[in-house]
Amino acid sequence: MIKEERHVLVIFPHPDDEAFGVSGTISTYIEMGVPVTYACLTLGEMGRNLGNPPFANRETLPQIRKQELKNAAAAMGLTDLRMMGLRDKTIEFEDDEKMIKLVTDLIEDTNPSLIITFYPGLSVHPDHDATGRAVTNAVGRMMEADRPTIYTIAFANHTAEVIGAPDIIHNVEGAAQKKLNTLNAHASQTVWMMRDMEKRLADKDPEALKWLHEERFFTYRFK
């Protein structure tokens, strides 16, 4: 059961961050008629997968990933995609107030009842943590009654010790094909993983099916 929302604002730093654990949820909201905005902070300029023999180089990768991001948005049915123009792996070095303002402006523009982002400090990649920090800092400055709910992704190895188990579990089985299409849209990043995953899904591997059909979030609690 996925709760109705006024507007969902998704904020992630890299093209493909939305694909793995959120694209089923995004697709389902869109099918429900809930407006969804996806603000993607960078174009994943520093991605390491170039192939061998290479299909890209350091300077062409961003254009490839930009097109993949647009294709992924189309696969989810998402029409409000915003590319925010920052550079991969630099988010934590940006001015903190600038990042908070970026998020605040997005909130003022879209008036979301729900924001989906990373859990600050439990999301492994420095850009993930910095993005989650900007979001929670921006929302934390709002009057409590006006704050949107924040669903977060957390996957650091010690996540359970710090925040326990995810409290929001979405069944997105109905959007499974859209989720696969979204993952495949990011081929430069996912082609190897998807080759393995599609085999596991064909074999009805229970863990793979659970990964496809269930998306899990931690509601962010302000202290």
Binding site: M46, N49, V124, H125
Partner: protein, 116 residues
């Protein structure tokens, strides 16, 4: 990018010598190295759009190669270079790709600035 031909790369390095050039230099293990391999000491460095004028550039060693640039009062070098290309903007792009096709090092030289 294609596999480095040392003689050709040497000619290219010569062609950018004694000019103001923009440099991109990067080494990386990826941001997930210590996530998938706990205890891994993840180190790297990144520099982009710094202008230098080198007086001598050399490619050395068998593949993966080393590339060094001697500056009037300093040095730039990269090791692990396997691939290179000159793109449509006449930029010399060099990279070290591991057997899985993951970039481990990049050294790029351009007479015009790289994008942001």
């Amino acid at each position: 990018m294609e596999i480095v031909k040392p003689d050709r790369l040497q000619e290219l390095l010569n062609s950018y010598a004694n000019k103001d050039v923009y440099i991109h230099l990067e080494t990386t293990n990826g941001s997930y190295a210590a996530h998938f391999n706990e205890g891994f000491f993840n180190a790297g460095a990144f520099i982009r759009n710094v202008v230098v004028k080198y007086e001598l550039g050399k490619v050395a060693g068998e593949s993966p190669h080393r590339v060094g640039l001697k500056l009037p009062s300093g040095w730039i070098y990269a090791q692990g270079i396997t691939h290179y290309t000159v793109d449509e903007h006449d930029r010399l792009l060099m990279a070290g790709l591991d057997p899985d096709g993951k970039l481990a090092v990049a050294l790029e030289i351009s007479e015009t600035p790289f994008t942001y």
